[in-house]
């Protein structure tokens, strides 16, 4: 909009993020809406387990301002085993359905398994959201093969679907940077497009609440790397523990972390509550000067 220096730290300049047919400029704050194809995810379990309900939610979140649909077939928390075939059964037909309903949509799938990644890319997915920090190194190869994007996250030393148990770091942000930048570099080597890679500190994954607060506070160290930063904080336990808030009482805390993250330079925000997140991000964008207010009359009449 103008030549002012954007909020955030000095560092490597951010470039455009390209996912599917979409290109997101550096100043654009992008919402990734969560659509779980699971009966047992932590937040409102099972609400989009049904096919029709899930597709209804996709249309609703797009109307509310979502830019990316993130489809998950396996909860992050420990629980009943979901074999590869079952994860594919939960996600692939739905990816096809979303692609058919919304040909231009950016479709992400939350998975760590390369077999699932291959199947969803064949069905039309644009982004592989690996919350488990490259646990399956072949996932990056699949992203490269299909020209898809890849999220490179930090989960400490935790294997998928485990909770942190007495985790410690001498410097959690240093560990996050080391891991996510390392994964991003390896993804580039594997052939994933530089403009299709995101890094994610993965709040709560392999972290206690103190660690998640620290990475929230120091997020500018990630954005200074030049890689687009995704944050996934929606209704998570670190918000609940910080505020002493139950699962249904975490929206205000979520939006606060979202706003601080945006101010520190994060670009993609994985969210359950899309309309509220869009409002929070629009407010940040207007404060930064990247978005004009909707209508300004006060004091000007």
């Amino acid at each position: 909009m103008d030549d002012r220096v954007p909020a955030g730290p000095p560092g490597v300049a951010q470039g455009p993020l390209r996912l599917g047919r979409s290109e997101f400029a550096p100043g654009r704050l992008v919402i990734m809406a969560i659509v779980n194809r699971t009966p047992d995810s932590f937040y409102r379990p099972g609400i989009t387990w049904d096919d029709a309900a899930a597709l209804d939610r996709v249309h609703a979140v797009v109307a509310e301002g979502a830019d990316i649909i993130d489809i998950g077939g396996v909860p992050a928390k420990p629980g009943a085993d979901v074999p590869v075939a079952e994860e594919i059964r939960r996600t692939v037909p739905f990816v096809r359905a979303v692609r058919e309903a919304l040909p231009g949509a950016v479709i992400s799938v939350d998975t760590w398994r390369h077999e699932v990644g291959r199947a969803v890319c064949e069905a039309g997915a644009d982004l592989l959201n690996d919350s488990w920090s490259g646990f399956d190194p072949r996932l990056a190869e699949v992203a490269a093969e299909f020209g898809a994007g890849l999220v490179c996250s930090h989960a400490g030393s935790q294997p998928p679907r485990t909770r942190p148990f007495r985790v410690s770091y001498t410097d959690v942000m240093a560990d996050v940077l080391d891991r996510t930048l390392g994964l991003a570099g390896r993804a580039v080597q594997a052939g994933v497009g530089r403009d299709r890679i995101l890094i994610d500190p993965a709040h709560d994954f392999g972290k206690n609440t103190w660690h998640s607060l620290e990475v929230s506070r120091r997020l500018d160290e990630m954005t200074a790397s030049g890689w687009p930063v995704l944050i996934s904080v929606s209704n998570k336990d670190f918000v609940g523990e910080t505020l002493g808030a139950g699962l249904e009482e975490r929206l205000a805390g979520t939006l606060a972390v979202t706003a601080v993250g945006a101010w520190l330079g994060a670009r993609v925000f994985r969210a359950h509550n899309v309309a509220e997140t869009r409002q929070a991000l629009d407010m940040v964008a207007a404060i930064r000067g990247d978005l004009q207010p909707a209508r300004t009359i006060r004091g000007l009449t």
């Binding site: 103008d2 002012r4 000067g289 004009q292 207010p293 909707a294 209508r295 300004t296 009359i297 004091g299 000007l300 009449t301």
Partner: protein, 233 residues
């Protein structure tokens, strides 16, 4: 003598840059643009812009409004202390593509009616019949409970009287507007109306009212005036 004159309001929101993504007042802007376009239709040698300000003064005719005083970061190198009324008048002339000479004349908000009328006569006289007048000024800002000055029940009648005088080309009625009442009603356009009356007088000009409304509790009026032409509206 002044052959043509236009009256426009001067709220900051007349500048499109200040209302965000919503144009907010497209009809008002169109009416102002149409009036100013008509004003300069015959390429007058000079446009005299007159508008209310804290004090009467002649401003550098090259001055422009600095929008950043209303919206930090959205300015474009204007003059921060230029009165809003003159800045918006200059903006309207720029938008209409007027390339000629201009006078930017501020008239003090406390200037008594006879002084305003004399100022109008002097401006008209100095122009030697080659100038037109763009008068900037608003009616009451106390039209509703949500208006900037809250509701004063006298406001609607006051503005109706002004609008009728403008519509009828009744310059004597404009010259007679009570400065005390205008002040109480936050009708900041009063001195400009009276300069207009002095510049156009005596006798009734032809007029056309292009816009009359108070969408935000402040009375806006867009009108044109022409000498040597019969009553148009």
């Amino acid at each position: 003598m002044i052959s043509r004159a236009v009256l426009c309001p001067c709220p900051p929101l007349l500048a499109r840059e200040l209302t965000g993504r919503d144009p907010a007042v497209p009809g008002l802007r169109e009416a102002c643009a149409a009036a100013v376009s008509w004003l300069i239709q015959h390429a007058p040698r000079q446009v005299i812009v007159v508008g209310p300000a804290p004090s009467t003064a002649d401003w550098d005719p090259g001055s422009r409004l600095d929008l950043s005083i209303f919206a930090p970061g959205r300015g474009d190198g204007g003059k921060p202390d230029l009165p809003l009324s003159l800045g918006l008048g200059a903006l309207l002339l720029d938008q209409a593509g007027f390339p000629g000479s201009r006078v930017l004349q501020a008239v003090g908000g406390g200037e008594p009616p006879d002084q305003c009328i004399r100022l109008g006569e002097a401006l008209a006289g100095s122009a030697g019949g080659q100038a037109v007048l763009l008068a900037m000024g608003d009616g009451s800002a106390r039209r509703t409970v949500s208006a900037p000055g809250h509701l004063d029940e006298r406001a609607i009648r006051f503005d109706d009287d002004v609008q009728r005088a403008v519509h009828d080309g009744d310059l004597a009625a404009l010259a007679a507007v009570d400065p005390g009442l205008a002040h109480e009603l936050m009708a900041t356009g009063r001195p400009a109306w009276q300069v207009l009356a002095g510049a156009l007088g005596p006798g009734a000009p032809g007029t056309a009212v292009l816009y009359a409304g108070a969408p935000f509790g402040v009375a806006y009026l867009v009108a044109r005036f022409e000498r040597a032409r019969s009553h148009e509206s």
